[in-house]
């Protein structure tokens, strides 16, 4: 019993360390400029004079007390993040699921699994120049489809490996029985197997959405202005206006952080499989 309490205390300490930095940003988002740093006032954890103005500022571009009006509000980057993440997820999940099924059942495609793994391991910056040139040649820089496509490609390894681990577990007999009953091979896949793994597909999709939403580097390099995503917008806000728009940036950070936290916690069990490429199940 003392062991249990001792363990709980240690774990609670860890949880506090995990939580404090996030909550510092969260409270910062509600602080007026005077409370941002200790240069102008004593720092407190909770805002002494809580305000929505940081949010008002990023959503409307103007707020009392801010002489700088924003050229762009957060609405469009928010939409850009959402749209490109969702479409990127669709591409990755559809292609990845189909390929995973094919490889799981028929061992086609040679070493496609290895290639996909390499794709994930490779540092994007070492290959970004040709990708930029290619994207420009195809007119895909700073477009929603260009960003969605690259998102779909870089998260493809995850959807492939995840779904493959699921299909590997599913006995072939299910489809064979269906084919014996008169289904075509495709119908067996589409009508029999897919419905069985539909929750796995859904979890994979959420997982990949989080990955896409979290991207900073790719959006930084492959967008200009129109389709910059929230993280890029957030960081650019500081470069342009000064390193001191702490509150507005914190508000943006909070907006960017919330969807992955909610989705991530809701699929936490599944995350393990995603992050281990399904290697856990042995």
């Amino acid at each position: 019993m003392t062991g249990l309490i001792l363990r709980t205390v240690v774990v609670a300490l860890f949880a506090a360390i995990a939580l404090l930095p996030i909550s510092w940003m969260a409270t910062m988002a509600f602080k007026p400029p005077a409370e941002w740093t200790s240069a102008t006032a004593e720092l407190t954890f909770l805002p002494k004079d809580p305000t929505w103005s940081n949010f008002v500022y990023v959503f409307t571009g103007e707020v009392e007390g801010q002489i700088v009006s924003l050229d762009r509000t957060v609405w469009w980057p928010l939409f850009a993040s959402l749209l490109t993440s969702v479409i990127g997820t669709l591409i990755a999940v559809v292609a990845g699921t189909a390929a995973a099924y094919a490889v799981s059942r028929e061992k086609v495609g040679g070493s496609i699994g290895l290639s996909l793994l390499q794709l994930r391991i490779f540092p994007p910056l070492a290959v970004m120049i040709p990708v930029m040139i290619m994207w420009a040649f195809l007119g895909m820089i700073d477009t929603w489809w260009g960003l969605s496509l690259i998102y779909g490609i870089v998260t493809l390894p995850f959807s492939f490996w995840l779904m493959k681990s699921y299909f590997d577990e599913l006995p072939r007999e299910i489809e064979e029985a269906a084919i014996v009953e008169g289904c075509t091979a495709f119908e067996a896949f589409y009508q029999i197997t897919l419905p069985i793994v539909v929750s796995a597909v859904a979890s994979t999709a959420l997982f990949i959405f989080i990955l896409n939403w979290s991207d900073y580097l790719i959006a930084l390099l492959l967008t200009r202005k129109e389709w910059t995503t929230i993280p890029v917008y957030m960081n650019a806000l500081a470069t342009a206006a000064s390193g001191q728009l702490y509150g507005a940036k914190a508000a943006l950070g909070l907006i960017a952080a919330i969807p992955p936290i909610i989705l991530g916690i809701s699929i936490q069990r599944f995350l393990v499989q995603g992050l281990t490429f399904g290697a856990l199940k042995q």
């Binding site: 200790s38 028929e106 390499q118 900073y216 929230i230």
Partner: protein, 312 residues
Amino acid sequence: MSYTPHTGTADALAAQRRTLARRLILPTQILLVFIVAFPLLMQVYISLTWWTPLDGTLWYSAYESWNWFDNFAEIFRDPGLHGAVWRTILFVSIAVPIEFGLGLLLAALFYEGVLARPVFYSLILMPMMIVPAVAGYIFFLIFQQTGPLNALVGIVWDGAYQINWLNDVNRAFIAVIVADVWQWTPLMFLILFAGLMSVPHDQMRAATILGANWRQRFFRIALPRIKAVIFIAIGLRVIECFKIFDMLFVMTSGGPGVATESLSLYLYKQTFQSLEWSYVAAIGITVLVVLSVIAAIILTRTSRPSNTSEAS
């Protein structure tokens, strides 16, 4: 029984299934070829030249400054690159073991049982859900001269506020490690805990009955059993840590000086400041070769279990 498949013979059926499989894999193959073929060819091509966009010619005219393997030779002579690689390796070899150690400790605590486990579990996972660029910003805030950490330090050591974090070479390096450990220890914990939970309960109990104490059970039964999971967890972190960019870019941009400049940040600067694109291509190819070997190792490790399960 008396069912007869009306689709024909077993051979025809197998053929039909293979055809379907080939079609289903096609989109992925196309995407892969799309993203790999041209970039790879272009990388190889320009890496053998001295081309930079400043030449005023387009990349396909790069042959005008053909130089064979000079760029690859440069890789061995470039102290900037060596520094970045060395820092990255140092970063990985400090951050990942700490993450592993703390993750394992947490996993062990959870495995033994804590009160309100689901609540703490979710709380502890939160850092890894944060967008890395946002995490960089959070720690940029925390490590400010005028930020909360120094305020806290000021409370403990009265008046001694002025610890400079992000503008000091060594402390900035510590700060980015702290940020990385904060963000990714939860991942280690998540994977290791799942691994521990997959250790058959009976084996742990059998060890107990045979007289093993807690430590013996943990280190002789549980840990060896989750070797593959540990391998994955560490491998995953090493790879991601090696690529690290977002968090550093936002938090320090590699500064002060190059004190926190990782390989990725170095490549970014080479690409957008020095414009040494052919050199970047040569580095890219070198990295590709090294990583391919690593990927092959990982793949053989992880695919082995599924092969054996198919065999049985």
